[in-house]
Amino acid sequence: MIENIPLSHILIFSTLIFFTGVYGFLTRKNMITMLISIELVLNAVNINFVAINKYMFPEQLEGHFFTLFIIGIAAAEAAVAIALFINLYRNIRSIDVDEVTEMKH
């Protein structure tokens, strides 16, 4: 536990990072930057779990382990996503969502 810092401040700080990630996901068109936004979102979630675990329920390490698994899955997800990006790039030489004109709404 960090001295003198209430839990709500940590959660507010993680909320800000979370919604920055959401904003990035909604505005970005380049797929890699979208992935970066997703990593921001996941990190905000991790901060939440760790902080809540440490401050409120330190008897069990549920938040700690949840964070551990989230990090593992994020790595797997990023690996597959980047393999897909590079494959798409080999196809059309671009990784902007907008530049793929084959699909129209």
Partner: protein
């Protein structure tokens, strides 16, 4: 804990064994001829599906991290059936020249997705839920991008995985708030502690939004149509049936167990989502000329209908949801099967190309007609009873206006389903799609689907059985 306890995880262990068998078998066949691998995988999956119907013990494992019971087994059986049908339908496509050597990967990824769904349904802890959900989406993204030289397919995979990752991020944020309120992440513990405050409501909303993306409810439906259109047809059918079914199943379970005390919060949420999902799904489906996009929007509307059962928080609601998903598996897979057969043979995806199809391929047209009738809810096919029970479930809780809106939307949907039938049977075409014979596996799958549509509709035992199991499920909760 003894070794016999592992029998509780029968379905998952069998599926993992199947994955290992497929991995090993894949090595022993040459790149040019993988027919043997296909047969082995299909046989394994059929055996697992049949074994699923054996009576199974119910209980908890790993301190409540894994829960099973009759109703869980039933849900998993439905997903197994869907997978077997999809596997049957994809044989012709998998055995195309040049495609063969990648067959092992396709089947293995499909099985691992199924493992993920199984674990997700049986989860008793948010970690297991999250893991199962990710296991059910990450390989699926690779499957959606399976036709790697088509940029459409590659893009579908990317959109699927980015959207899945983003939505699970939102879901996890909600979960973290619930953790703060409840102090534990075990479903049982959360259920006992959670009470209705602004804080838990916020957690529930974020959690629900994350799951809404998976079920492709409006307004979380962005990109659904793109993914469905870009992915190979067999993967699209799996996405629209199995993925959606699994997500709906776990949603029903979680809302009725973990968030039971927040009932008066999620009721209006589901209410609003149903109305916009059905309406917008229908309006967009009306405009589509590509059969896959059309089925994508129709499946969004169908998801809205499924939620009618979710809003009824009792045994009847859960039973109708399971029943409708079962019917939907057969009807939608029949429709997708015909679309896949046509696409495989001619590469055509537009509904206009189907003009005059009845003259050249009467049997496939009949299958498509039955599927459309069932999806639209025309008696006496199973789809009618599915929808009818859903309306009853919603009306039982006093949501008469909602039921009325849903009924009106059913009539709109009737129009666009009939458009496909009209194209096939009535519209004239100078150069219709020529006669072709689809492969045996496809024929078998279509026969299974048609039998399913008719049998589940006409035998009342199926629904009674589901009601029975659901009521037992709710009894054990108290």
């Amino acid at each position: 804990m003894s070794f016999s306890d592992f029998l509780l995880m029968r379905n998952e262990l069998l599926l993992v064994a199947a994955a290992v068998i497929i991995l090993i078998a894949d090595m022993s066949f040459s790149d040019e001829n993988k027919r043997g691998l296909y047969n082995i995988s299909l046989l394994t999956m059929i055996i697992i599906t049949v074994l699923g119907f054996l009576p199974a013990p119910s209980g908890k494992l790993f301190g409540g991290m894994y829960i099973t019971g009759d109703i869980y087994i039933l849900m998993k059986n439905i997903l197994n059936i869907a997978t077997v049908i999809v596997l049957l339908q994809s044989r012709g496509w998998l055995e195309k020249p040049g495609q063969q050597k990648r067959m092992g990967e396709f089947i293995l990824l499909l099985v691992s997705v199924l493992i993920g769904m199984s674990y997700m349904i049986s989860s008793g802890h948010f970690i297991m839920f999250y893991l199962g959900m990710e296991l059910a989406t990450i390989p699926l993204a690779a499957l959606a991008a399976y036709e790697l030289n088509k940029s459409k397919s590659a893009e579908a995979g990317i959109k699927l995985i980015l959207l899945a990752a983003f939505s699970s991020g939102i879901l996890l944020f909600g979960t973290s708030l619930i953790y703060a309120a409840a102090g534990t992440l075990y479903f049982e513990g959360v259920m006992a502690i959670l009470d209705s405050t602004a804080f838990t409501t916020l957690g529930l909303i974020l959690f629900f939004a994350g799951l809404g993306f998976k079920i492709s409810l409006v307004p979380f439906h962005l990109w659904t149509a793109d993914v469905y259109e870009g992915a190979p047809t067999n993967v699209t059918s799996f996405l629209s049936v199995a993925s959606k079914g699994a997500a709906v199943f776990i949603l029903v379970i979680i809302l009725n167990t973990v968030f039971k005390s927040l009932n008066d919060v999620w009721d209006p949420m589901v209410y609003a989502l149903i109305i916009i999902t059905i309406t917008i799904g229908n309006l967009f489906a009306l405009r589509q000329r590509n059969i896959k996009r059309f089925l994508a929007f129709s499946s969004i509307a169908q998801a809205g209908f499924i939620m009618l059962g979710v809003i009824n928080d009792g045994g009847l609601g859960m039973a109708t949801v399971i029943y409708f998903v079962l019917v939907y598996v057969f009807s939608n897979l029949a429709a997708f099967g015909v679309a896949a057969a046509i696409e495989n043979e001619t590469g055509k995806e537009s509904i206009d190309d189907y003009n005059g199809f009845y003259r050249t391929n009467p049997r496939l047209s009949l299958v498509m007609m039955l599927a459309m009738f069932s999806l639209a809810g025309i008696p006496p096919f199973a789809g009618f009873f599915g929808k009818f029970f859903l309306f009853t479930a919603a009306a039982e809780k006093g949501y008469y206006i909602l039921t009325l809106i849903a009924v009106l939307n059913t009539i709109i949907s009737l129009y666009y389903y009939l458009l496909v039938i009209k194209a096939m049977f009535i519209d004239k075409n100078g150069a219709p799609i020529g006669y072709f014979k689809s492969d045996t596996a496809m024929q078998v799958s279509l026969v299974i689907c048609i039998l399913g549509i008719i049998v589940t509709g006409f035998t009342s035992g199926v629904f009674d059985y589901m009601v029975n199991l659901s009521q037992q499920f709710f009894l054990t909760l108290q």
